[in-house]
Symmetry: C2
Subunit: 355 residues, 2 copies
């Protein structure tokens, strides 16, 4: 089936030179002067035969495989994750590299086996990604290879990482609502105590305080991050006294539940209630009606940034260990149709906020 691919030897024969020469010209080895004529002769022979070097052989010799691994807990099984793969793949391919992906599903043994399998294939480096932003402990085997974390940070020094900028996400959500004139607000936060929960709340509160919103005009409740959780939380929020006119949701899925609660209570979005989500999860943010204004999570960019860093470290001369760079990516707010001025907004007040 697999007819043997053409090798450098065949090219050499075809061109009537030695394989050394072929290697020289095809790799443009610096300092090796080759007669222009031989050069073209070799080039033509290679083209004629459709020669492409065997990367395995190259790797064995050069100790560089031009191959990286992407291992993650749910890297393949969540809608976001794919974007990470894509970002990583795009920068990899731009350098003629390819990426292995290993989905561990939180199984320690699978992770370990997967990484070993990659190492045995001499990957040049590994991208280690988590589905939700958190702190991780690096698998010990990764100490041996250049590694970059995606959507996670770790205490091991010398390992670059990139995560979403949760705080500014919270700030931006607050700003969107404030700019529309809202003065009574709520945040339906995640029940889990994770960086995203802390960060977003911090940013959200900070901006409200700065805008002079009184503490008892901002409510922060927690819920499961799914439609059911959002529904429950929103019902409680909206049926209490002094209900918020604007709700910031920990995720678009939560917002989905808020939409339902609002509909049941006869509240129209955005006329009676404004809502902003988080994630910009395709099919949800876009599919809801009216379209959900939300903060985007830049998974593609995280994947790309990480791959970029990884290659940088791979290519850096052995000793040259620069301090590990880290990045917090601020996601843009995606304006759709779920935010409007509050129903009873006082003109002067609104104008002040817009200024």
């Amino acid at each position: 089936m697999t007819q043997r691919r053409v090798t450098i030897k065949q090219v050499a024969a075809e061109a009537g030179v030695s394989i050394t020469t072929v290697s020289h010209v095809l790799n443009d080895v610096p300092g090796k002067r080759v007669h222009p004529e031989t050069r073209t002769r070799v080039r033509e022979a290679a083209a004629r035969l459709g020669y492409a070097p065997n990367v395995l052989a190259q790797s064995l010799r050069t100790q560089r495989s031009n191959t990286i691994g992407l291992v993650g807990d749910e890297i393949a099984t969540t809608p976001f994750a794919g974007k990470i793969i894509l970002g990583a793949q795009d920068v990899a391919l731009s350098r003629d590299a390819v990426v292995f992906v290993v989905n561990t599903g939180y199984q320690r043994d699978l992770e370990s086996r997967g990484i070993d399998e990659l190492l045995r294939r001499q990957v040049d480096g590994i991208l280690y990604a988590t589905m939700y932003h958190r702190q991780v402990e690096l698998p010990p085997q990764l100490a041996a290879v250049p590694t970059v974390l995606i959507n996670a940070s770790c205490t091991t020094s010398g390992v670059p990482w990139v995560v979403p900028d949760e705080v500014s996400g919270g700030e931006d959500a607050a700003d969107v609502l404030l700019a529309a004139g809202h003065r009574r607000l709520a945040f339906i936060n995640d029940v889990d105590e994770i960086p995203a929960a802390f960060g977003r709340e911090e940013g959200f509160r900070r901006r409200l305080t700065a805008a002079g919103i009184r503490d008892d005009d901002v409510r922060v409740v927690t819920a499961e991050t799914d439609p059911a959780g959002g529904y429950e939380a929103a019902r409680e929020l909206l049926t209490g006294d002094k209900p918020p006119t604007g709700i910031f949701c920990f995720s678009d899925r939560v917002a989905m539940g808020v939409y339902r609660a609002a509909a049941e209570l006869g509240l129209r979005i955005p006329d009676d209630l404004s809502v902003v989500g988080f994630d910009n999860q395709e099919f949800i943010a876009e599919g809801l009606h009216p379209g959900l204004t939300t903060i985007e999570l830049r998974h593609y960019d995280m994947g790309a940034w990480a791959a970029e860093q990884l290659f940088e470290r791979i290519e850096a001369p052995a000793g040259t260990r620069a301090a590990a760079p880290t990045a917090r990516l601020r996601g843009p707010v995606i304006h759709r149709a779920s935010v409007a001025p509050p129903p009873a907004a006082h003109e002067p007040q609104r104008r002040r906020n817009l200024a």
Copy 2:
């Protein structure tokens, strides 16, 4: 950074034998009798040093890399696709193989480059997947390697493929609605003329006819497969005369639009209107309220089936080319809460259908 990994030579030295012997025992080469004592000596040496063979070197020698490629148009960027990766990866890993993934984004040149890059790395075979079920023309380079198609079929003979069983999907949807007692039905089909559209309609109609539903009691309309499309179609369907009491949607996203239309028209699901979707797309089917009854697309299984077939072909002795197997996977119906008896159902009629 990357301290050199331990090689077979070191193990040989540690055990005081030749590398040949090490290879023999570690690979359990049949027909090679090695003294039990040396055997354990080697094993222990290997373990002590933490030796793991370099797969690149092995591959170069054996012409088998234990590595496969998964290339697809949107293999990493859609919620379904991840499951395909996972299915493929799981069977790969169970054979100590790893998978490269390449997302082509429908760009021919990217696809070509990606595949070349894989071939240069001597992948043993390639899984070629498409996001939506369709016919494809195989990239010419794939003629050289074992290949299996996922979610796609092709005319090239000798290439195994696996696709969803669209027809039975349509049948099952019809059955669910019929069993609940519905007699006036509609199908919101995809505007695009693709296998899924033909197949599902065929199955759906067949069962209705078999159940004695009159032709003018079943309406089939087409729409864009997104919430907006579903909304428009549903509005038209539901505001016409003799509106259907049960709607089968081409996709869960379409169903999402149907939910909205129903809500606007004051129709309660499932009391006034039953709906069944297609895909069982996580976060949508589950997140809608009431939960959407839908037909599952078995992406994980398609990935796994394909990988299984691929390895079978890779391992088959050169000449042994069995006819290419193909499979249509029938997805289970996921019962949730969007289907109930029609509002004005006549008892006798319903009972008859349940029988």
